[in-house]
């Protein structure tokens, strides 16, 4: 187990390094660099060309790119991702303070989304009437195709402004969490429902379901004791991928509901071309992907004993 974890951690390193390198390359081919953005952003045009040139040389912007790359990488290894061009505070602490809000939102959205997805998927797979089954199965594609911001705006309009039931925005308290979590959970529900229904339908055709039926098992027992566990695998994998996408969803959701969080931070950083912050967020999302995938792979053998961790390492 320890050996497996170590090998997986080793596998994660190139992924993170690759992400960092790619982000560095993309940002360095942009026509402007961090300093000129900062100078133009401050509206301070009093600096003469010589002064700008001196600043550039001082802060290392004239150094060859490989040297800049190594310097940034060194900083990253010591936990230093530079400072925001906009606020001047360290990127690490900015992400650190935004992350708990987004984590809370993501966990809430995930709980709601996975639960709703499993329930809808189960109902769809077991529905005896063809019409009901097709109705239930048409919900997930609808959920995926409906844009998140539109759902958010409708919810704000109806629940907050017309019913005055819940706040339309803000970061504090449980109440402010409900609407954004619902909004963010929609694509999760849709994905999980669709995949779970499909794997359930496959599992329900398997011989061991017939064996259980021949024992005299009722539908609930068939579902809970035999079908769910065997059908869970693909949904688990899909959930892992969805978690990675939640960060992207948070950009929209947090903006619409004016919540603090990594998503808002990202949106602001992009509009202000705050390159160090953008780079930090990119690295964070890569890290989340790697960790979540590892968790998914660790969960698989618990679901199905035929899957072993050593197989996954090979």
């Amino acid at each position: 187990m320890a050996k497996y974890l170590a090998s997986r951690a080793l596998q994660a390193l190139p992924v993170l390094l690759g992400t960092f390198t790619l982000a560095f390359v993309l940002l360095s081919v942009l026509p402007s660099d961090a300093l000129s953005i900062k100078l133009s952003g401050s509206g301070d045009s009093a600096l003469s060309q010589e002064e700008i040139a001196r600043l550039r040389a001082e802060q290392g912007y004239d150094d060859p790119l490989p040297l800049q790359y190594v310097r940034q990488l060194g900083g990253l290894l010591t936990g230093d991702m530079g400072v925001s061009l906009h606020t001047g505070s360290p990127v690490v602490s900015m992400i650190g303070s935004a992350l708990p809000h987004t984590a809370r939102l993501a966990v809430a959205a995930l709980l709601v989304g996975v639960t709703a997805g499993l329930v809808i998927g189960s109902l769809a797979a077991h529905a005896r009437s063809r019409a009901l089954r097709e109705l239930l199965m048409s919900v997930p594609p609808l959920g995926i195709s409906f844009p998140t911001f539109a759902v958010g705006l409708v919810l704000i309009q109806v629940v907050s402004f017309q019913w005055r039931a819940l706040p339309s925005g803000g970061t504090d308290g449980f109440e402010s969490l409900v609407l954004p979590a619902l909004t963010l959970s929609l694509p999760v529900t849709a994905t999980v429902a669709q995949i779970f229904a499909r794997s359930l339908r496959e599992v329900l055709d398997q011989g061991y379901i017939d064996t259980a039926t021949a024992k005299g098992a009722g539908r609930l027992r068939l579902h809970l004791a035999h079908a769910v566990r065997n059908a869970a695998g693909p949904s688990l994998t899909a959930t892992g991928m969805v978690i990675g996408n939640l960060l992207g969803g948070a950009v929209v959701t947090e903006t619409v509901f004016s919540r603090e969080g990594v998503g808002r931070l990202t949106a602001d950083a992009v509009t202000r071309q705050d390159l160090p912050v953008v780079q930090g967020v990119v690295l964070l999302s890569a890290l989340v992907f790697v960790v979540v995938n590892l968790l998914v792979d660790l969960t698989y053998p618990l679901l199905d004993r035929r899957v072993t961790l050593t197989e996954a390492t090979r």
């Binding site: 061991y208 064996t211 005299g216 035929r306």
Partner: protein
């Protein structure tokens, strides 16, 4: 009908069937009709089937695929596929009309009264649940035991179905057991709640011959011991004859003939039953080709020497020697059969011959050319002379190709002939395998299993190879179709002079077609000789086991038999 039945068929019921004579049959199916919904209409799969099973009796329902035998069985405990519906007739179990039962009533019937031993032990156990729990579940469902007591019962049941170390096995998952053990677990599940009737749907078709024999023996023993009646669904008339008191022969959803097992086998009344008997490999007497002396013709076509193949890391504990020093010769126009059960290394040997697998050691000489060291281009050339017919005609043909294209593919791959010449060659091959030319533009899914295997044979022979490796070419087919394909293979050998390496687990099939036989187990060749010699005087005990495992209905252990007065005519 139940009012009329006492006094009839009673004497047939052996065993401890208490009061069977008074209560009539345990199961009675009268004029059953089952219809499937298919695209653009309905199809009647069962068309007026009637049969009875008395307490303690074993009744075999025999038929080929599509005969409605499985559908009939599934109707008994209300487990028809979603698209199927009973459209006529009655099924009465112990005086109850099964069709009239509620969902809950059906659930009480299943397991507690009617147990099911399913067909495929590989797919019929829940892969994510422990074996013991799956047996105990049957007891918990019917409230025969509490969850805790059920675990103990499960251990006893495992022991009863002949599984050693039940405490260990109960905690294992299905994939940790062998196929035979899984089938025993399924039998334990089926008898757990004490049913009076077992439906066994092709219970051994996925098992090796020797394993299958032991499982059937055990099933017969248990049913005799507990007085459980057995409704045995099978395609194998020889097995039915050996195991059943009565046989019902089905064809296209109708009963062709039914009656006392021995009588039906020894004096069948219907032509179809006679055909079925004639086509059943183990009952098929003699060989399809006359015994041929090994002619002294100089160098053999194929020389195989000292093949070794190990899977897994060499030297580690889990390394398996799949092929261990295998060697043989194949002469021109002759058939060498490689006989073995699953895991014997016969398929790996075939894959090495075809260049699909590299041996660790040994050589394969085709007419003087070493195949094992050939590069991609050389192997491609060699494959013009060495072709394959695979086991499963349902997956070995590209579903998007027409028959014509499937057969022409090797010609195109080797750039042989102009399009017109290829067309002519394809026609010629289709003609040779007796496929009507109007099938040439169909796709594989529109063909029957036998037709598909004919296409596969045409594809293998279109390059005019000198040798064809046939990997279990008939084991996925019904017996009548099997017989046709075997006849076809022997005819083509006579006409084209092609040699066969015939890989098979089925001794009865091998006996009909082989000149020489290799018996393999655990990767090693146990016995090698001419077919007559090996089968007449097997030198290795394993070969004798294999021979004994072929169903032999004329040497029934059962001595006692009902008097001639009890004679039921076929409907």
């Amino acid at each position: 009908m139940s009012a009329a039945s006492p006094g009839r068929g009673v004497t047939v019921a052996p065993g401890p069937a208490d009061g069977a004579a008074d209560t009539g049959p345990l199961l009675s199916i009268e004029d059953l009709r089952v219809t499937y919904r298919v695209r653009g209409g309905t199809r009647e799969a069962v068309r007026g089937v009637s049969l009875e099973v008395h307490a303690g009796q074993t009744v075999a329902v025999v038929g080929e695929s599509g005969s409605g035998k499985s559908t009939t069985a599934h109707a008994v405990n209300g487990m028809l596929a979603p698209g199927a519906r009973v459209t006529g007739g009655r099924i009465t179990y112990a005086g109850q009309d099964v069709a009239a039962l509620s969902r809950a009533g059906l659930r009480r019937l299943r397991g507690a009264e009617i147990g099911l031993v399913p067909q495929d032990p590989g797919a019929s156990l829940n892969p994510t649940a422990r074996v013991g729990d799956q047996i105990a579940e049957a007891l918990v469902i019917h409230r025969i035991a509490s969850r805790r007591d059920a675990a103990g019962h499960a251990l006893r049941l495992l022991a009863e179905v002949g599984i050693d170390r039940p405490e260990l096995r109960a905690r294992q998952f299905p994939h940790e057991l062998s196929g035979g053990m899984r089938q025993r677990v399924l039998i334990a599940i089926a008898i757990a709640a004490g049913p009076r009737l077992l439906i066994a749907d092709e219970p051994t078709s996925a098992l090796d011959a020797t394993v299958s024999r032991r499982v059937l023996d055990h099933l017969a023993g248990l049913s005799a011991e507990h007085g459980i009646a057995l409704l045995l669904i099978t395609h194998d008339l020889a097995m039915a004859a050996e195991r059943a008191d009565r046989i019902v022969v089905l064809r296209e959803g109708q009963v062709v003939e039914q009656g006392d097992a021995r009588e039906l086998i020894t004096s069948p009344r219907r032509g179809y039953t006679r055909d079925l008997l004639a086509d059943t490999p183990s009952l098929r007497s003699g060989r399809l080709i006359p015994a041929r002396e090994r002619r002294d013709e100089g160098e053999p076509l194929l020389k195989v020497r000292g093949l070794v193949k190990t899977f897994g890391r060499a030297g580690s504990a889990d390394a398996v020697r799949a092929v261990d020093d295998v060697g043989f010769d194949v002469g021109r126009g002759r058939t060498v059969a490689v006989l073995g059960e699953s895991g014997s290394g016969k398929s790996t040997t075939a894959r090495i011959l075809l260049g699909l697998e590299h041996p660790d050691a040994g050589s394969v000489l085709l007419d003087g050319t070493e195949l094992t060291t050939l590069g991609a281009a050389g192997l491609r050339q060699a494959r013009r002379r060495l072709q394959i017919v695979q086991q499963n005609p349902y997956t070995s043909l590209d579903p998007r190709f027409t028959v014509r294209r499937v057969v022409a593919e090797p010609l195109r791959a080797h750039k042989i002939g102009t399009p017109r010449e290829r067309d002519a060659r394809v026609e010629e091959m289709l003609d040779a395998v007796a496929l009507p030319s109007d099938l040439a533009d169909r796709r594989p899914r529109e063909l029957s299993g036998g037709q598909r295997q004919r296409v596969a044979i045409a594809r293998a022979l279109v390059l005019r190879p000198e040798i064809v490796v046939c990997d279990e070419p008939v084991s996925a087919l019904d017996v009548t179709v099997q017989a046709q394909i075997l006849d076809l293979l022997t005819r083509l050998q006579r006409e084209l002079g092609v040699s066969y390496v015939f890989i098979s687990h089925d001794l009865a099939v091998v006996r009909q077609i082989a000149d020489e036989v290799l018996v393999m187990r655990h990767g090693a060749v146990l016995e090698h000789g001419s077919a007559e010699a090996v089968f007449a005087e097997p030198s290795h005990p394993y070969t004798r086991d294999l021979l004994a495992a072929v169903a032999d209905p004329f040497h029934q252990p059962r001595a006692e038999h009902p008097d001639a007065a009890d004679r039921e005519t076929a409907r």
